[in-house]
Amino acid sequence: MSLRQLVRPIATLQSSRSASAAATKQILESAPAAHVTSLKNGFRVVSEDNGKPTVTIGIFVENGSRFETQQNSGVSSFLEHLLYKGTNKRTQQQLETELAGLGASLSSETGRDHTAYYVQAASKDVEKVVDIVADILRNPKLDAAAVEKERQVLLNKLDELEGNYQNLTFDMLHTTAFQGTGLAHYPHGTTKSIQEITADQIRQWQADNYRPVRMVLSAVGGGAEHGKLVGLAEKYFGDLSNEYPGKVPSDLGIRFTGSEFRFRNDKFPAMFAAIAVEGVGYGHADALPLAVVANGIGQWDATHGSSHNAPKRHVQRLVEGYGLHGFEQFNINYKNTGLWGVYFVADGKDFENVTNIHSIIQKEWKHMACALEAQEVEGLINQYRNRFFSKVESNTGKAKFNAKELLYTGHLRSLADVEEQLSNLSANSIGQAMNRHIYDRDIATAGVGRTEGFPEYSYIRQRMWWWRL
């Protein structure tokens, strides 16, 4: 702990709570509550009826590239793509017509540790939507022709992805930081694995991963009446068993390795870089303070109106001719680990410029760890509050939040709980969390593109701490 923290007057840490804070709490507590029910087979239903004319119904499945191996890398996203290709009851054409008839929109995404299917629809169509989603998830056709066709799509997509430098950088960062674990695998697989995955393997994957204990149905919006949804879930998913025909999926490790990965290609338009420390899992007590700080470091790019006059001191310094195009702080929480760091794009033409960018960002991290003032904390928390509450304002945002809470921690925080946790944060608790997870911790770095001027590992590592009492 720094000397400044020790001598900081205690009185300023907890400024007296105003009466409005209590009122906020009351309002949040009177908001429509989310109800959670667990079916007999472990399938969980969480719903929140807020009376809006629209509803988002999502099924979130714990599966993804961190459960895959080198051989079947990409199978989760392969499966997710194939589920659109029709079921035993409906062809792809029928599926699309039916959804279009409802005016609903079905989206899905596969990450490293979850797949989400969600439908945005009118609130009166809850029953039909659940019927369609259940059909997609439970009776996919997965015929050979569709598999072959999708294989080509995915291979082309691999090519495309290489042009998405940000994605490439984050994939490389995961690969090096979590080398030897499942988190190193790419969500979209490799050429070899996509070429070799068979329809049987995909079927097997679904059988082993889409088990009720690994699934959450999350509905938010009008018509998301809990009793009705529980009934629907019982009807469509109640008969799913928890028997694993193949092997029980395991997440293949969480070991973080301090390391660097550089992929130099001077034909890329810039240097894309990420440095990260090992973050915390979603349910970790320090997840919130770290998210608050990450949000406070924020992001900036050359299209922003502010530069030297930016409100943040590190932005003011970063724009001083170091060839920085933009940066963004990130905070990724998986179930039991995470990555916390910064991503930036710079022209990378000069070694000193790049090292200066690193130093300025790291200096700000150290400031947050050792010298945070109570006044700053107020601002940081408000920034996070804005971001968080606007994110959960939409049906989809709230449905994702509820599902994530259940999948990752097994219980559900209400917005009032989050607000309570936020208002309990202080300079001290944030500083302590930063000291536990950021200050003088090993880092993983990834550089993609024009990385000639990318500083070596030890250079960046030694800037994770400074002399202090």
Partner: protein, 276 residues
């Protein structure tokens, strides 16, 4: 929810409008590469690249060169480069990927921390000591004064019945080798009659040797040894008379001559050193 947007490579919409468009970092997309990358992924582009390379040589212009490796579609992705396995370089405790690195950390860093602790700790202690000493020394006597802190006087240099003067801490010190007669005389003085009553026994450590500071207690003149009415010391300034024990007997001085700290060491008297 960072991972939802970022690591999701695929967000698709079957029908309806996607609520979320993947917007690449605006600046990266707006950047035009000055030396536009040649896309080496199609047969044509590979042939083009080969030709371009071949025609720039000194002797090869005009030659028809067929590119190698361009006859079949190549599917090479950055993602296909396997990440090397560094297990050989790992410590045993970190071989198991299921154990979080934080859990094995205390054991891994113990030795380094100990070595660093000892090295930097001792260096730090030494530095702290130096610092404290520096501060303390600045407040202590100067080196020149300290060098004169104690003087050694050889007793053989002073024959019986004579007094010699030495300088000790910028002041004169009289060392008197007293005769038997002087000793008897001084011992016999009635203490109660003195202005500053002190018995001779208190003022000397050995009867033969009287050591006093030669500064008159009146106004600080230097008395003359072996002079005055009591054949001790006489201050010429205002006429103070001291006896052979350095006691004031007559004149304006209020006190006896001061006795400095001194010890006998073999054949020498060390003035400035306390008796241990």
């Amino acid at each position: 929810m960072g991972s939802l947007t970022r690591s999701a490579a695929s967000v698709k919409t079957v029908v309806g409008r996607s609520s979320k468009a993947i917007a690449p970092l605006s600046i990266t997309s707006s950047l035009g590469s000055p030396d536009a990358a040649i896309d080496h992924k199609t047969i044509d582009s590979l042939q083009l690249a080969t030709e371009k390379a071949s025609r720039t040589g000194l002797f090869v212009s005009g030659l028809a060169v067929k590119g190698v490796n361009v006859t079949s579609r190549r599917h090479a992705s950055t993602y296909d480069v396997p990440y090397p396995n560094f297990d050989e370089c790992r410590r045993k405790s970190t071989l198991d990927a299921k154990v979080a690195s934080r859990d094995t950390e205390p054991e891994r860093v113990a030795f380094t921390r100990a070595v660093k602790g000892v090295a930097f700790g001792s260096f730090g202690l030494w530095g702290a000591k130096e610092g404290v000493q520096l501060l303390l020394y600045s407040k202590s006597m100067s080196m020149a004064t300290r060098a004169l802190a104690a003087i050694e006087i050889s007793m053989n240099d002073i024959p019986e019945g004579t007094t010699k003067t030495y300088e000790w801490r910028t002041r004169p010190v009289f060392v008197r080798h007293r005769t038997k007669a002087e000793i008897d005389r001084e011992k016999a003085v009635v203490v109660s009659e003195l202005r500053d009553p002190e018995h001779d026994d208190v003022r000397v450590k050995r009867d033969e040797w009287s050591v006093v500071i030669g500064v008159c207690t009146h106004l600080g003149c230097a008395p003359i040894a072996g002079a005055g009415e009591y054949s001790g010391y006489y201050c010429p300034c205002h006429g103070s008379h001291y006896d052979a024990s350095g006691r004031i007997r007559k004149g304006p001085a209020p006190r006896n001559l001061d006795v400095p700290p001194y010890v006998f060491k073999g054949d020498t008297i060390v003035v400035g050193e306390e008796e241990k």
